[in-house]
Structures are given as C-alpha cells and as structure tokens.
Amino acid sequence: MRGFVTFLAAFAVVALGYWAYHQNILTQQSLREVDRLQREIGLERENLGVLRAEWAYLNRPDRLRELVDLNFDRLGLLPMSPSQFAVMDEVVWRPESLPEAAAPSEPENILFSASETEEPL
C-alpha cells in the first residue's frame, strides 16, 4: 500500500512536471507567434499608410477638378449649387417593374459582364 502511494506521488510529480514543461513550450511558441503577428501588423499598417496616402493623393481636390473638366462631355458634373436642392416629391423615381433588359449587342454591357464573370475567385 505504502509503496503504491509513493509510486503514485512520483508519477504525479512527473506528470505535472511534463505538463508544466509542455505549457511553457506552448507559451513560448505563442509568444513567438504574437511577435510574428505584431511584425506583420506593423508591416500591414505601413502598407495601409502608403495606400491611404495614395488614396488621399488620388482624391486631391485639384485632380478631381481636372478629371471633372476632362470628362465634362460624358459626366456633365458641375459644382453643387443651392438650386440643386429639391424636395422628394420632385424626384422622378424609377418605375417599379424594370424595363426589358438592354439588347445584349451593346458593347459596354458585354465588356462589363465579361470582365465580371471572368474574374478568378
């Protein structure tokens, strides 16, 4: 009996030791992973900063104004003016039922749908 208890205690010590060691290793691994992720986050944040700067640069008012001028024929964009405010009742809504689909021979449509379907997932 006494020998059995001693054996059990010894086994428990070994088992706990193994468990503690294992946890230690796991923690170290997690810390390394966290470090790696932090580095990655840092890099991504750097990239995000660059993208944000580029986005802001592409959206700078001077450039948008130039683009509006260049594309005036197609878009006809004008600065917002007080006369453009209106009440909802004056808005012409689209009819409830959609009109017949545009003829499929229209080149823009084909291009658009083709590029959309061919996009790899």
């Binding site: 923690t27 966290v34 802001a56």
Partner: protein, 595 residues
C-alpha cells in the same frame, strides 16, 4: 531497537543470591546499560537532524548557485511581457479634416547616401547620379567622392523610380536608408494652416520630422508622441469646402486684379474654423524659403487671414451700432444727425456721399455713414468702446491653435484720444486680422456670447461670456441683412441663403506715414443665414481694381462682395445648409444631399 532490559531480572538475582552476591549490583549495572542505550538514541537523532539541516542548506546554496550560473551564462534580456497591447508607434501622427480625410500623412521613401571608400568607379557613379538628379552637379559630386571622407548624404528622400535608377548604377558605395517623408496629398490646399515639416536629426535608418509652421509646429510634440499610437489629429477644416473657397477666392483675386486675398469661414456657435484661405499660397510639400529681403507680408508663406493685421474699415460699424443698442442709447429707428463734414481735432470726417441731414441707426449701417457712426461713438464714450472691443477679443491675439497667431497682435493707439474713438468706430486706426473680425462677428451674431476661434474639431457650442443680449444680436443680424437687400452689398445676395453682411473699404496705410491714394483693402464680413446665423464669412481682397459698368471700381461692394457671394453659393450646400426657397414644412427633404 534493542530489547528493553529488566532492571532486576529474577533469574540473575536468584543466581546471585545463591552465590552470596549483592543483587543491587545487577540493578546498577542494568541502569547503566539503560543510560547508555538512551544516549546512543539521542546521538543518532541529533546526527540525523544535523544531516537534514545540512541538506537544506546545501539545496538552498545549490539553488542560488545554479541561478547565479544561469544569470552569468545567459544573454541580458528584458522580461517578456505576454500582453498583446499594440506597440507604441514611432511615426508622426496624421492630420485629418473634420470628416477624416487626410491632410497630412507619412510616406516611406528612401534617402540616398554614399560611402566613397566603397565606390568602385567614382567618376561613372557621379556621372550617373548627375543624370538621375539634374540638380546635383557633377563637380560637386566628384568633390564629395574624392574628399577622403567615408560618408556623405546625397538626398533626403528619393522616389521609388529614382531609387531603382540609382540601384541600376550597380555601385556598392551608394546606399539607401529608409525615410519617413511628410506628405501633404492635397498640395496647396490649406497650406497655411498645415504649415510644413522638415527633417531634424538624421541617422542612416531614420530621421526626425519636425514641424516648422502652422499646425505642424503648434502640435509638434503631440504629433510625435509615441504614446499617441498614431491617432490622427482632427481639425475643424472641411477639405471640400476649403478647396472650393480657395478656388473661388483665386478666381476672384485674378478677376479683381488683387495682389492678395484672404477668406475665413467660421461656425458661429462652436467657433470652429471651417475654412481659412490666404492667397498667394504655396505647396507645403516643397515649402519655399522665407524672403531674405523685402516685406515678409508679401511672401506666399504669409498667412493674410491670420497673421496679417489690417485696418479693415467700415466692417467695424456694426460693433458701434450694436453697442449703442446694447446700452439702450438708441433704438434701430432713432434718427442720427449725419450732416457733414464733421470736424474733429483738425480732421474732417466725411461720408462717401451725402446721405442727408438725418438717418436712422439702421440706415447709418445700411448706407455706411461714417458721420452717423461717429455720433453713436460719441454717445458711447471712449472707455465703454474700449471695453466692448476688448470683450469681442479685438485687442489680443486670437488664440487659435496655429503657431503664427502669437505674433498677430492687433494694433491700436496707445494714446486713445477722442479722435481715435471716432475713427475706430468706423474701423480706422485699429488693425486686426480677418480672423479677429470673423471671431468678433461670430460672437456678436450667435446670440451674443463670445467665441474663441479654434482649428480643432469640436461638437459642442462654446459657452463664452455674454457680449450683447440675444435681442441686440438679432437686430444686428437683421441690420446686416438690410445692408445686402438695400445697401452697399447688393451683389451679395445668394438665392436661398439670407446673406447679411457689412462692407469695408479702407485705404492702405503707407509705411512712411499717411495713406496710399487709390490702394484699398476691400473686406466683406458676412453672416448666413441672417435669420438664424450659422456661419460667418470674411473675405478680404488686397488692392482690387476692376472696371465695371464703365468705371474703375475698388470698393468692397464691387469687389469683395461678389467673391463672397460666390463662396457662399458654393460652400453653403457643401455645409449641408438647406436653401430657404425649399418649403421646410415638407417632410421629405434632401437636406443630407451633401453627405
């Protein structure tokens, strides 16, 4: 354990008695034996205890020894904290506008430096660099490469294309270091507010970015603070409105042949500056050097809206009228004597034209009568006039969070004579910046409480001390409205927004004394909508001059007013103000069209 011995064992005693010995001897012998046994046991126990103590000490010293060995044998390392809190960010924080659009950010580029000792062919390298960077001279490069020093900076920050071309030269002595570069993606938009930045201390791997002007200098420490963790600094500026204001102002300045222009658009309740423009302007990405000769006020770096103090003229009349009303000296329809010219201390005060012998207080403002205003100022008196102008903040720097404001101290006479009182009542003899004027108008028209202009985003109205009563504030707004409907600012009408405002055309002072002839500073200080003031706009044109209806026009009514009207026409919809012509009773409004 030995068997316990009886002290008087019967067998031995009987035996001893038989041979005539004293049985007590046996007992004494046994007692002695027993003592011996007990002593042995004690000694054993003591020995085992000593061993135990020794082992404990050994274990303790062993632990200390092992730990010391481990410490001595391991690399010094900071204790690892297993928290996942984001690391402190070393980069300078962004600056964004009130809707979060980027006004200033950082871009990672590279700097170029040379280690001449590692150059294989200095002559070819110099020729290649001179081709890539046209502003680097071949001679200068060669001197750098052959001077014997082992290190030299060539460029602060270069573009990726330039980096690739330098890389293609294949010189091992040409090296790159990463550089955070301050980028203002919108170019010259809001340049004066943002200021600019430059490199401070440089090392191969990084360089300090220091703010040199504007917001960048004012908030330099905050923007650099790593504990800020990259949280952007949000300004009250609206990028879209700012761009529109600058565009219109630039067009107006060109059209009116002015040499400079400034505009301030401010929320009357919160004191937020929505837009502040000064022309000519500059690109903060390539900040020009300050002028070495001549007047700094002519440099594009000079912020006319905030740094420049000018005599702004008749725009001050509304302050005099409002104070007279506040002190119950007059009612809006009280008749004021306006017969001129008015002689005072050897000066003659005249009106632009004769407005008849008597005008109501409202008409004094609407027609902009100098004489009428002086009469009002005489009723008020010098001391009360000073107190009132002080309460509007016209004697101190504005306190806006832009570093240049500290120097923009209003100029007013140190010896305030009766003549000063008279001329200052209509805006001559006191110089303030357009921002001062905008803040004073906002304080007067927001219901009568003082606002301090701010460039930082805030959501709540400022609750400053009371300047005038709500009633007087409303009357002042309605007077300003009548200036537009019936008076000197008739070109300021913008359909849908009840614009009110006061014109001011002041002769520019000659630094050598007196005033220039025919060189005017034209100002229009406006408020919209006048029935419920929300925004104040001050537009100033420096030396405008335009031929209109067959006559040369310089006064504000012909120059600053139409420019201001166009700014309001463009900016008000962007600010989400619904024009009045749309019936507010109708439930479905497109009031959010600007969002």
């Amino acid at each position: 354990m030995t068997r316990r011995i009886a002290l008087r064992p019967l067998a031995r005693i009987l035996e001893a008695r038989a041979i005539g010995e004293n049985p007590d001897r046996i007992e004494r012998e046994n007692v002695a034996l027993r003592h011996e046994q007990a002593r042995d046991k004690m000694r054993q126990r003591a020995e085992s205890r000593l061993l135990m103590v020794a082992m404990v000490f050994f274990a303790a010293f062993l632990t200390v020894g092992v730990k010391m060995t481990a410490l001595a044998g391991s690399e010094p390392e900071e204790p690892h904290i297993a928290s996942t809190a984001a690391a402190a960010l070393g980069t300078r924080a962004d600056i964004v506008d009130r809707r979060g659009r980027v006004l200033a950010t950082n871009l990672i580029t590279n700097s170029l430096y040379v280690q001449p000792n590692d150059l294989i062919d200095p002559a070819t390298a110099a020729a290649g660099l001179a081709e890539i960077f046209p502003d680097l001279e071949l001679d200068w490069l060669m001197r750098r490469f052959t001077s014997g020093s082992s290190f030299a900076w060539l460029r602060g920050s270069i573009s990726p294309e330039q980096q690739q071309r330098v890389h293609d030269l294949g010189e091992p002595g040409l090296l790159f270091g990463p550089r955070d570069m301050r980028l203002y993606p919108n170019g010259a938009v809001a340049a004066h507010i943002l200021g600019g930045a430059r490199f401070g201390e440089q090392a191969v791997n990084s360089a300090e970015i220091l703010g040199v002007a504007g917001i960048e200098a004012q908030f330099d420490a905050e923007l650099r603070d790593p504990a800020r963790n990259g949280e952007p600094l949000q300004l009250s500026l609206d990028l879209t409105v700012q761009a529109a204001v600058e565009e219109v102002l630039e067009g107006g300045m060109t059209l009116m042949n002015a040499i400079g222009a400034a505009a301030v658009l401010m929320d009357v309740n919160t004191g937020e500056v929505i837009s502040l423009a000064s022309l000519p302007d500059f690109d903060p990405n390539a900040r020009p050097r300050p002028l070495l000769v001549g007047d700094q006020a002519e440099s594009p770096l000079f912020n006319r809206a905030l740094q420049g103090v000018y005599e702004l003229g008749s725009v001050f009349k509304i302050f005099t009228a409002a104070q007279a009303l506040e002190l119950d000296l007059v009612e809006p329809d009280t008749m004021i004597d306006t017969t001129g010219p008015l002689r005072m201390a050897g000066f003659e005060i005249e009106d632009f034209s004769n407005y008849g012998p008597e005008n109501s207080v409202t008409d004094v403002i609407v027609r902009s009568s100098n004489i009428g205003t002086v009469r009002l100022a005489e009723m008020i008196g010098t001391e009360r006039q000073q107190e009132f102008l002080d309460s509007l903040g016209l004697f101190d720097p504005t306190g806006i969070e832009v570093v240049e404001q500290r120097a923009a101290r209003p100029l007013y006479p140190s010896r305030w004579t009766n003549l000063s009182t008279a001329t200052i009542s209509y805006g001559h003899g006191i110089s303030v910046s357009p921002l001062h004027l905008a803040a004073a108008y906002a304080s007067l028209l927001n219901g009568g409480t003082r606002v301090q202009p701010t460039i930082l985003r805030r959501d709540t109205p400022q609750e400053g001390e009371r300047v005038v009563s709500e009633e007087v504030s409303a009357i002042a707004a309605s007077m300003l409205r009548q200036v537009v409907t019936d008076g000197t600012a008739s070109l300021g009408e913008v359909e849908g927004y009840e614009v009110g405002g006061k014109t001011g055309s002041a002769d520019k002072p000659d630094p050598e004394g007196g005033y220039y002839e025919g060189r005017l500073l034209s100002t229009f200080a406006s408020v919209f909508p006048a029935n419920d003031p929300q925004y104040v706009l001050v537009v100033t044109l420096d030396e405008p001059n335009i031929v209109m209806l067959g006559e040369e026009r310089r006064t504000a009514g012909w120059t600053a007013v139409p420019v201001a009207a166009e700014i309001i026409r463009r900016a008000a919809p962007l600010l989400g103000l619904r024009p009045e012509s749309v019936d507010p009773e109708l439930a479905y409004q497109l009031s959010s069209a600007s969002e």
